[in-house]
């Protein structure tokens, strides 16, 4: 049997919507931080994202299975969709950046090996490519 959220729970849904919007802002902030190479900003935003996710997850788990209705349902859907879209953009950027960083780490590693054991580094580089 489906449980509808009563008036007492409207405040809870409003809180969810607020948390979803805060999370969306943080995802946007993290996206900008990655673009600007502002590592500290990214790390701070990540900490806030984790906090918001934790609060949201605990709150939803505590009340679930509850189904909002009417206006609450519309605003919650809109907030969730916006967060989902923003997160998809964020995810693509993170994947791209992570790959770039992995390539640079590999370059750094090759360079360091070349400085220490030139012959071995060239050999392992060729082996790796092969």
């Amino acid at each position: 049997m489906e449980q509808r959220i009563g008036s007492a729970n409207i405040d809870v849904v409003a809180t969810w919507v607020e948390l979803l919007r805060d999370l969306e802002r943080e995802v946007q902030a993290a996206t900008s931080a990655i673009g600007c190479n502002q590592l500290t900003d990214l790390e701070e935003s990540l900490w806030r994202q984790e906090t918001l996710c934790g609060r949201l997850k605990r709150s939803i788990t505590a009340i679930c299975p509850a189904t909002p209705g009417g206006t609450s349902r519309a605003s919650l859907r809109e907030a969730a969709s916006r967060l989902k879209t923003q997160t998809a953009i964020y995810e693509k950027l993170v994947v791209h950046s992570s790959r770039s960083t992995a390539i640079l780490q590999h370059l750094c590693s090759l360079y360091r090996n070349a400085a220490q054991h030139p012959g071995r580094a060239i050999y392992s580089s060729i082996s790796h490519e092969a």
Binding site: Q28, T31, P65, T67, T85, S98, C108
Partner: protein
């Protein structure tokens, strides 16, 4: 809050800016060991616009990149490099001179001692022709040593001339290359291209130029200008001005600027400055001392000869001849042709050795210079050694200073693989954390959808 299009725009800008930033990092890593390479940093700025009185975030804007350089430090390094070049040139020449004068068993000092030692032996048997011939041979050997000393100084002077000529040719070549790079930098930057690598090359060449000649670097209306220390232009923008070398009547090399003005005496620093200092000051001063010693010693010996009589009872003839003009040390010759002409006798008898004491007294009496021949020569050798040690100490200090400056420059401009690696690890950790958050957000979204949000 911005809309979906705004978010996509931010992400697109971010991807472009971040790609550029990573390319710069990649470039930094690849050039970590390139001499003269200056670490580059990306210039990013926050892009925003004002719409209806509200500031709207539009992500990040890529402004290009700049090389990390400290102009004051660069100038200090060039000045120290110039000093090092000058002192190295002087040190090379003084080492060459010192090796010709430093011998204790050979050389002028040893020859003077041998001459007087054999004169002393002659006093015990003044009629011994063998002993007389030995003294004559000693005089010849001493004259030869003076010739060798003069030749060593002359050779050093020639070497200094050669250094000046060779260095001027290199200065002209470097000036042309720097001017060409200036033109390329202007073209590259006008087209929005990368001028950083070209600027690094130019700075490296400027440092090489400083090794050869003291230079001043200025910017006139954004155009880099390189001049000699006296202000003669070497490079103005994309134009270079060639120096010339001519040989003066005295055989020394003179440097002329692009307009043909003699700027030799106004140059300082670098190989050219050092070689000119040695050529115009150090070597002439030493030559003057050596010539004075040769001339005064010859005069003193000739005077002592004139006071006595030779083996045949004739008045003593001059032992040495020195040229009226030119270098006395290079031109001194033994005038006597036979050992019998040594004026050992004080009364004209063959058995007398009374005048030998007068000849021996030349060894201990002061010459007009104020010191005995032996001490005069010791002073000359001491002056060479002192000049050498001063230059050597200066070179050591300058090299040390240059190393410190270079280390400081490296810490500011050079690429640190460790630093880059540490940054990359931090980035990678942040991206892993981001991935975990994204996964959580997706879980939350799924949960909300399962709460029948998606059915209506």
């Amino acid at each position: 809050m911005i809309g979906l299009n705004g978010s996509l725009s931010i992400a697109t800008e971010a991807l472009g800016a971040q790609t550029a930033a990573l390319e710069v990092t990649n470039n930094n890593i690849a050039n970590a060991n390139t001499p003269g390479y200056s670490r580059q940093i990306v210039s990013l700025s926050s892009a925003a616009s004002i719409q209806n009185g509200t500031t709207v975030d539009e992500g990040v804007s890529y402004q290009g990149f700049t090389s990390v350089r400290d102009a004051v430090l660069d100038m200090a390094i060039n000045a120290a490099t110039s000093d090092q070049g000058s002192l190295t040139a002087q040190n090379t020449l003084l080492t060459q001179i010192n090796s010709a004068f430093s011998g204790t068993t050979t050389g002028i000092g040893a020859s003077i001692s041998t001459l007087f030692s054999d004169l002393s032996a002659l006093s015990t048997n003044p009629s011994d022709s063998s002993a007389r011939q030995t003294v004559l041979s000693d005089a010849g050997a001493l004259a030869n040593m003076f010739h060798q000393g003069a030749a060593a100084l002359s050779n050093a002077s020639s070497a200094a001339n050669q250094q000046v000529s060779s260095a001027v040719a290199q200065v002209n070549q470097l000036s042309q290359q720097i001017a060409s790079l200036n033109g390329q930098i202007v073209s590259a930057e006008a087209g929005g291209g990368d001028g950083g690598a070209l600027t690094d090359q130019r700075d490296e060449l400027t440092t090489q130029l400083s090794q050869l000649i003291g230079v001043s670097t200025t910017q006139t209306n954004g155009t880099p200008t390189l001049t000699t220390t006296n202000g003669s232009p070497l490079v103005i923008g994309a134009s270079s001005y060639q120096l010339q070398v001519t040989t003066a009547p005295d055989g020394t090399a003179h440097v002329l600027d692009g307009q043909g003005n003699d700027i030799t005496n106004e140059l300082s620093g670098g190989t050219i400055g050092g070689a000119i200092t040695a050529q115009d000051n150090t070597i002439p001063a030493l030559s003057q001392q050596l010539d004075a010693l040769a001339s005064q010693f010859a005069t003193a010996m000739n005077s002592a000869q004139a006071a006595g009589y030779d083996l045949n009872g004739n008045p003593g003839a001059a032992m040495f001849t020195v040229p009226a003009t030119g270098s006395a040390a290079a031109g001194i010759t033994v005038a006597l042709t036979s050992g019998s002409q040594i004026a050992a006798s004080s009364d004209g008898s063959s058995g007398s050795s009374g005048n030998v004491q007068a000849l021996l007294a030349v060894q201990t009496n002061n010459l007009p210079s104020g010191a005995s021949p032996t001490n005069s020569y010791a002073t000359l050798v001491g002056n060479i050694g002192f000049a050498g040690s001063q230059v050597s100490a200066g070179l050591t200090a300058t090299t040390s200073s240059l190393q410190q400056l270079t280390t400081q420059q490296d810490s500011e401009s050079a690429v640190s693989i460790d630093e880059e690696t540490a940054n990359l690890i931090r980035y990678q950790q942040a991206y892993s954390a981001s991935a975990r958050v994204i996964s959580t957000i997706n879980d939350i979204y799924t949960t909300l959808m399962n709460m029948s949000l998606g059915d209506g």
